[in-house]
Symmetry: C2
Subunit: 206 residues, 2 copies
């Protein structure tokens, strides 16, 4: 009859996530400004105060969506840095996951959210989180340069170039299309790491 505190806690987490999932899809489809929390609430069959209860106002809901996306990427960075192999191997693993997250709901929301959309406090934290990921990427590249597996004249610009290329699928990837997220991610990472020079029969540049 009465639910345990643990059950209530679990239900709270599930409901909160359902709200975020409904919100992020609307933000991605319609744009943040064209989405109201009333629409989000209606799509879940609840009222706006329920959303306030679980998450807060519209800026807070957006911030939670982008925080979730950035957390997924940060986890990928930590995993890649702890992995075996050369710097280039670790970078490729990180980049593939980075691209996959950017094609998923919360990652897409990170990419589609301009700094100026967030409130000043949320913006500060958004930038700080993105800065950590940028630092991770530069460190993996620098490790590859140090172990001789990566050539990079300018580590910072290399990181920006890779990240930019892998951010963009957030705008064009179609989950209903013929290729999966991980197929597109792997193919893009191959293009970026190997470049465009023609290869010999063994796949080496000539």
């Amino acid at each position: 009859m009465f639910r345990s505190s643990q059950e209530r806690q679990k239900e709270r987490v599930l409901k909160r996530h359902a709200v975020l999932q409904a919100a992020v899809r609307m933000f991605n489809e319609r744009g943040f400004h064209a989405t109201s929390l009333d629409d989000v609430a209606a799509s879940l069959g609840v009222t706006k105060p329920v959303i306030y209860h679980y998450l807060g106002n519209k800026d807070q809901v957006l911030f939670e969506c982008v925080r979730l996306g950035l957390t997924q990427i940060r986890e990928a960075a930590v995993a890649a840095r702890a992995a075996e192999g050369t710097g280039l191997d670790r970078l490729k693993a990180f980049l593939r996951r980075y691209a996959e997250v950017n094609m998923d709901d919360f990652g897409r929301c990170v990419i589609r959210t301009g700094d100026e959309t967030l409130s000043p406090e949320s913006r500060r934290e958004f930038r700080a989180l993105k800065g950590e990921i940028d630092r991770d990427m530069r460190e993996v590249i620098a490790e590859g340069v140090a172990d001789g597996s990566i050539y990079a004249k300018d580590v910072r610009l290399t990181a920006f170039t890779l990240a930019g290329a892998l951010n963009w699928p957030a705008r064009w990837f179609d989950p209903e299309g013929p290729e999966s997220r991980s197929e597109v991610a792997a193919a893009m990472v191959e293009i970026l790491c190997e470049g465009l020079r023609r290869r010999d029969g063994a796949g080496n540049s000539v």
Copy 2:
């Protein structure tokens, strides 16, 4: 005393461009939704009806801004396709100019404008113009594959990868920073075309 029709026409073009220049900077700095045509008019010391006279409503002003940016990129594509050299040479020339435009006011506005921000008619034309540029890029890549200067397993995905990487500086490039647009563009194009494999003394991949 009386200006000739030619002088009036020239003045009209100059005033129209001044409005677009003021508008694009505000859109880029504050975001489209946070910018009102009253702010744009005030920054030029005119009233909103002056802007309506030269350009129309806010959606029309935004569309003219993105049209200008896309036109600059289209011109670069046409110039690169008519140039001498291998497909890879022509692709590099196009990509450098593509990146430069994206770091400039109107190009930045193209990148920062999500489809959903525009009215349905403007959106259709915006997508059509972007589609032409995408086609140009694929054709230059395909020419390079045909003449043996470019290796690309998937021309479409290669074009998307290159374009994405070179769109992104619209978000981070700082015109007050130590590097010029053309320096950043050239360095990024080099990273993308050459890849990340370590090189021998002659700069070739090993």
